[in-house]
């Protein structure tokens, strides 16, 4: 049962992803991206990472995708349906991407993963919180700084020059 769900979800995700990269219209790519993010969120739920799924939706779909759409809007004139999608090296890239996928596939299926499959602890979120302010407090703080910096940086970069 779960496997079926998984298969559906993964197909959705992968299919959307494929559409993202091949869509002629950029706007449509953005929308397909949102769908892909949803798929991924679903996969997170399957993996018992509910909090993360929500975070995924919030951040990725809510913020980042919106941001992307804004950017698309703001640069609309330049890129329309008529333009070329891919650059001149697309063939090589496709080939090597497929190659890489095949190799990864080969690798992944050959390795004996050390699987434990314990149940997820009930207080997972609390643990997550505790980890943020506990052992990983420094990355946490740094991440906040990073966000501030990024924000300021983005403002400065994208500012209208007088």
């Amino acid at each position: 049962m779960l496997q079926a769900v998984f298969i559906v979800l993964s197909l959705v995700t992968l299919g959307s992803a494929a559409m993202v990269v091949t869509s002629r219209s950029l706007f449509r790519s953005a929308l397909w991206l949102i769908l892909a993010f949803f798929g991924i969120a679903g996969i997170f739920i399957l993996l018992h990472a509910e909090f993360l799924a929500v975070v995924q939706v919030l951040i990725y779909i809510g913020a980042i995708s919106t941001l992307i759409i804004f950017a698309i809007m703001l640069s609309r004139n330049a890129m329309d349906v008529k333009g070329q999608r891919f650059n001149e090296q697309w063939g090589v890239v496709a080939g090597f991407s497929i190659l890489l996928f095949v190799i990864l596939l080969a690798l992944l299926t050959r390795v004996q993963w050390h699987v434990t499959a314990e149940p997820v602890p009930p207080d997972a979120i609390a643990r997550l919180g505790g980890a943020f302010v506990g052992p990983y407090v420094v990355p946490f703080e740094v991440a906040s700084v990073l966000l501030v910096v990024a924000m300021i940086g983005a403002i400065i970069i994208a500012r209208e020059r007088e």
């Binding site: 990269v21 941001l67 990864l104 992944l108 990073l146 209208e160």
Partner: protein, 102 residues
């Protein structure tokens, strides 16, 4: 139980698709979208390993959250850059941004 391998395969596939997008798209925003896909593939990987590995510590999720954070920051800055470049050069075609050409 879904085998770990399946998750990893999906992640690998997503990664490769995202890779293709990043390297083959002309539009800068398209490239960015490809990158986001790759980051998501990584996230799937991490959470899958968390679920099927050390579940007690939340390291996998934690890291995924960090990745998301950084991805957000990066998307913000990247898009700001694209806008700035668009204003300067009236183009979002990455092929035309080659002033480092030797």
């Amino acid at each position: 139980m879904i085998p770990l391998t399946w998750y990893l395969v999906v992640a690998a596939g997503l990664f490769c698709i995202g890779l293709y997008g990043a390297l083959a798209r002309r539009n800068a925003v398209g490239v960015l979208m490809g990158i986001e896909l790759m980051l998501n593939a990584v996230n799937i990987n991490m959470v899958a390993f968390w679920r099927y590995g050390a579940v007690a510590q939340m390291t996998g999720q934690l890291f995924a959250i960090f990745v998301i954070t950084v991805a957000a920051a990066e998307a913000a800055v990247g898009l700001a850059l694209i806008i700035a470049i668009y204003r300067q050069r009236r183009t979002v075609n990455v092929e035309e941004i080659d002033s480092m050409k030797g």
